[in-house]
């Protein structure tokens, strides 16, 4: 392999110094006294008619400018696949925490005090507290008007039911599949909703300028999507909307949702366009803004006696909460990869997006994959037990390899799917599988191992696109303008590395735009789906090549040769056959000036763009289609010390072996993967919304909803297999989400072995393990 300057190096993150100094500005780090402050009033019920809202007392409270309610946006419904959600509830609330009204006041305190004076009279209604309850024939409808909602073509809501989207996979011949199956196993799995808990809660500023231009500042993963949605719902030209996004304090999918932006826009409009700020409290961020899906899964697998899986019948009920938003999209993503990374010829899957009276959901790291993977991998373990086969052996026998097809009948190639066999074999060594799955440590304690495989593709829209622009400072620093948001995943650093590598310059001479301004930076679809390195990286390479071409063109005139005789490297342009002859790029990037003053060239501006290719929607009846350009695959495992008497456990080791293609920055890649693993173990072991019988969430705060802390962390072992992706920048694949995906599955498998029980619910608390029969 050619030696590389920046790719594959442990480059220090370009945002690290400012962050360590506390000097990075996040969206709510503003102290402008001219801002008006918004405070939401949110529903105290999970399902109720709003009989009346009395804002009169609040309106006269000190400092209060306006109080707005749902009436202000009468007739406007928002959503992603199905437009079912009013920006503020009208007439009815459908989940605990749903925004109903907003008080706009001079200060935060006055807004809060005003909000306490808004009186809402409710008429409580019965609640649907799980997807299976919502699927019962006599269940009431969360949305009576489902038939009349606007929807996207690729979505199939079922009016008269609580199904917001119904995605079908019909692959092969199920009759043949069951006939060939000698062993059949079935599994049911339940996973409650949970939350992202990005440490920075969501916040928005909105202003309508006197000339009609709209300025939004948002802590978001999708500044360009906000522009589109505001345009669509409020009938504003996209050209008049500018969205600014600074550094984002964690997102994990949760900040891809567009919610507060619409509320803040309406608030600004109500006060004559003045700039308003709306910052979620932790409680609002957990339940009023969208959370992670819940899932009920039923999986049935059939296999031959020697362990070849022949048939899979799967039902996924996605708990999307009260509004479908990204839940309907994840339902599709789950269907497209529904079997996990296994080659199964006959697949029948119904993936249903089901309304309940829970908080509504949005994307969460893994986009539905960690949730369904737990169900599939639990069933695979069960199958191994039924076949009396080694769990790694059974997986090796069935993993998808080049030439196989996915559930949507996409053909896998050596490039678009990584090497899962190698991942599993490496996992086997790293997890010390040969020691035995279960070893007695003493009378009460056993040491157990559990494993999982996973795959994930991007599920991007077929026309998702990105851009990059390069300009130069007079002293030759390359300035890169991109639309990808820095959420902590290291995207700015990765893009700087890609550009430095392509221009063959020291990374210190590359500057990446840190904040996003949708009017100035070229659009990037959304910073989600582990697709930014792939998409923006390709645009950066194209822009770099454009720059190199322009530099060579001007230099060729100066050096009296053909552009093809030249090479650009280290900030210089050389004659390839005579490197003694060169000029510095600073002499050409802003135009070349001859000694007599004549000039040629002008400033060099590089442009690069990227759009997905060959992707397609899924067929309504069979699911056929191509959901993403590539799959990242991996194998993960955990090792646990389990106390048989107390049902308590300590996770001691967690292992990930992931084929992420070329690793751009090993230290960042491994840090992000470890963070994903930690989040996966935290979700699996302790995180869940606890609903009471009335659908009220009992733990919407970090006192009672407890993410993992340092003392509970295991040792992490992370290995990368690097099968290059032909179309990826320098061969890179997506990686941001994948550390999480198989972790819940590995833990539930491990603890099932340890406790000798068929665990099928999350979170895996000692109490749950003890209770399970």
């Amino acid at each position: 392999m050619e030696s590389r300057l920046a790719i594959g190096k442990n480059v220090i993150r370009v945002d690290a110094h400012d962050k360590a100094a506390g000097r990075t500005k996040y969206n709510s780090d503003v102290t402008d006294p001219s801002l008006l402050h918004c405070k939401m009033i949110v529903s105290q019920y999970a399902h109720a008619n709003i009989k009346s809202i009395d804002t009169s007392e609040a309106m006269t409270a000190p400092g209060v400018q306006r109080v707005i309610t749902g009436e202000i946006a009468q007739g406007i419904l928002t959503g992603t696949f199905v437009e079912d959600r009013p920006p503020l509830a009208i007439g009815k609330v459908r989940y605990h925490g749903e925004p109903i009204a907003v008080v706009i006041a001079n200060t935060e305190l006055e807004a809060k005090r005003g909000a306490e004076l808004v009186k809402i009279e409710y008429e409580p209604l019965p609640v649907l507290n799980s997807p299976s309850d919502s699927m019962k024939p006599n269940a009431f409808l969360v949305h009576e008007n489902l038939a009349n909602y606007r929807k996207m073509k690729e979505c199939t809501p079922q009016p008269g039911t609580n199904i917001a989207n119904n995605v079908r996979i019909r692959k092969g011949d199920m009759i043949k599949g069951w006939e060939e199956s000698e062993v059949i196993v079935e599994e049911y799995l339940y996973l409650p909703q949970a939350d992202h808990i990005a440490l920075e809660t969501r916040s928005v500023k909105a202003e309508i300028k006197p000339d009609g231009n709209i300025i939004i500042h948002s802590s978001t993963q999708g500044p360009y999507i906000i522009r589109k949605k505001l345009s669509r719902h409020f009938n504003i030209d996209t050209g008049k909307i500018t969205v600014h996004t600074p550094m984002v304090g964690g997102a994990f999918g949760g900040k891809a949702a567009v919610q507060l932006e619409m509320i803040a826009y309406l608030a600004s409009k109500a006060v004559g366009g003045r700039e308003v700020i709306l910052i979620n409290t932790r409680e609002e961020d957990m339940i009023s803004s969208p959370c992670r899906i819940g899932l009920e899964a039923s999986v049935k697998l059939g296999a031959t006696k020697d362990g070849k899986i022949k048939a899979a019948q799967i039902t996924y009920l996605v708990d999307c909460g009260a509004y479908s938003d990204m839940g309907a999209v994840m339902t599709k993503s789950i269907a497209s990869d529904c079997t996990g990374p296994y080659n199964i010829e006959n697949v029948y899957c119904d993936s249903l997006c089901v309304y309940t009276n829970h908080p509504y959901v949005t994307s969460f790291r893994g986009f539905g994959h960690s949730e369904y993977t737990a169900a599939i991998e639990r069933t695979i373990d069960k199958l191994a037990k039924a076949l009396n086969m080694d769990k790694i052996q059974l997986r090796l026998k069935n993993i998808a390899i080049p030439g196989d097809t996915t559930p949507t009948c996409s053909t896998l190639t050596k490039s678009n799917i990584g090497d899962l066999k190698k991942c599993l074999e490496t996992l086997k060594v790293k997890l010390k599988w040969e020691e035995g799955e279960k070893v007695d440590i003493n009378k009460d304690t056993v040491k157990c191992k559990g494993i999982s495989c996973f795959w994930k593709t991007s599920s991007t829209p077929p026309n998702a696109a990105s851009g990059a622009i390069i300009t130069f400072s007079p002293d030759g620093f390359a300035h890169l303008s991109i639309g990808a948001v820095e959420l902590g995943q290291g995207t700015k650093t990765a893009m700087a590395q890609i550009l430095a590598e392509r221009l063959k310059v020291d990374i210190k001479r590359v500057k990446v735009s840190m904040e996003i301004n949708t009017s100035d930076n070229p659009e990037h679809w959304k910073t989600v789906a582990s697709s930014t390195t792939y998409m923006v990286g390709n645009a950066v390479i194209e822009a770099a090549d454009d720059v190199i071409c322009q530099i060579k063109d001007i230099s060729a005139i100066v050096l009296r040769c053909s552009p093809k005789d030249l090479e650009v490297s280290g900030g210089k342009v050389f004659l390839i056959d005579n490197p003694e002859k060169w000029i510095d790029i600073t002499e050409v990037v802003h135009g070349y000036k001859y000694p007599n003053g004549n000039s040629i060239g002008g400033q060099i501006i590089g442009r690069g763009s990227f759009i997905m290719k060959h992707l397609s929607g899924m067929d309504e009846n069979t699911g056929r289609g191509n959901p993403g350009p590539l799959w990242t695959v991996g194998a993960q495992g955990v090792e646990v010390l389990f106390n048989k008497k107390e049902y308590s456990y300590k996770i001691i080791n967690a292992v990930s072996v992931i084929d992420a293609g070329t690793i751009i920055n090993p230290i960042v890649a491994s840090g992000v993967t470890m963070g994903g693993m930690s989040m996966g173990l935290s979700l699996a072991s302790r995180e869940a919304f606890i609903y009471d019988n009335n659908g009220i969430i009992l733990n919407p705060n970090l006192r009672s909803y407890k993410p993992i802390r340092v003392d509970e962390e295991p040792e992490y072992i992370i290995e990368f297999i690097e099968t290059p992706e032909v179309d990826g920048p320098f061969g890179a694949r997506g990686l941001g989400e994948h550390g999480l995906v198989g972790m819940p599955a590995a833990l539930i498998n491990c603890l099932s072995t340890a406790a000798e029980k068929d665990l099928n619910r999350f979170p895996l608390t000692p109490e749950l393990i003890w209770k399970t029969k």
């Binding site: 220090i12 360590a20 506390g22 304090g249 840090g671 970090l702 993410p707 802390r709």
Partner: protein
């Protein structure tokens, strides 16, 4: 006509400077630091004392500024992240890749800096006990522990 509100003028000694601010008795130290003094390096995340993102030093000891009233801080020496300039802990966090989104970082660095100042020879157990107070949602805490240990071993 002049109207008197429930605000009082108080003096806070912050990052080596004496600052005069108007504060209500109920204003938290976090609120005054951010809103009145513009020291937005100190972060609000849970507002409930659960996550430690808002940690500042009071006479060298870490406190949760969301649970402390500004008036309680009068007469004490307050240090926020802006008051730490290139201390070894900041350098260690950068070099050990202990920073991702950066939102927990100020609280984490403040707490870690206090820890290594108060216990220059802290054992792994003491490090763990101190860092248990802080939530980081991005990392698996491993690089953060490495950063702290690297300062202790200096």
């Amino acid at each position: 006509m002049i109207e008197f509100h429930d605000k009082s003028i108080i003096e806070l000694y912050v990052n080596g400077d004496l600052k005069t601010v108007a504060a209500r008795p109920a204003d938290t130290l976090l609120f005054i630091l951010r809103e009145s003094l513009g020291l937005t390096g100190t972060k609000n995340s849970c507002g409930n004392g659960d996550c430690n993102s808002c940690t500042v030093l009071l006479d060298g000891w870490p406190v949760k500024s969301c649970l402390m009233l500004a008036v309680e801080a009068v007469g004490h020496e307050i240090t926020t992240i802006e008051g730490l300039q290139d201390v070894p802990m900041q350098k260690a966090f950068v070099e050990k890749s202990a920073i991702q989104c950066g939102y927990c970082t100020p609280g984490m660095i403040i707490n870690s800096h206090a820890l290594t100042t108060i216990y220059p020879d802290a054992s792994d157990e003491i490090i763990e006990e101190w860092l248990e107070s802080n939530i980081c949602r991005c990392t698996g805490y491993k690089e953060i522990c490495e950063a702290v240990k690297s300062v202790i071993n200096m």
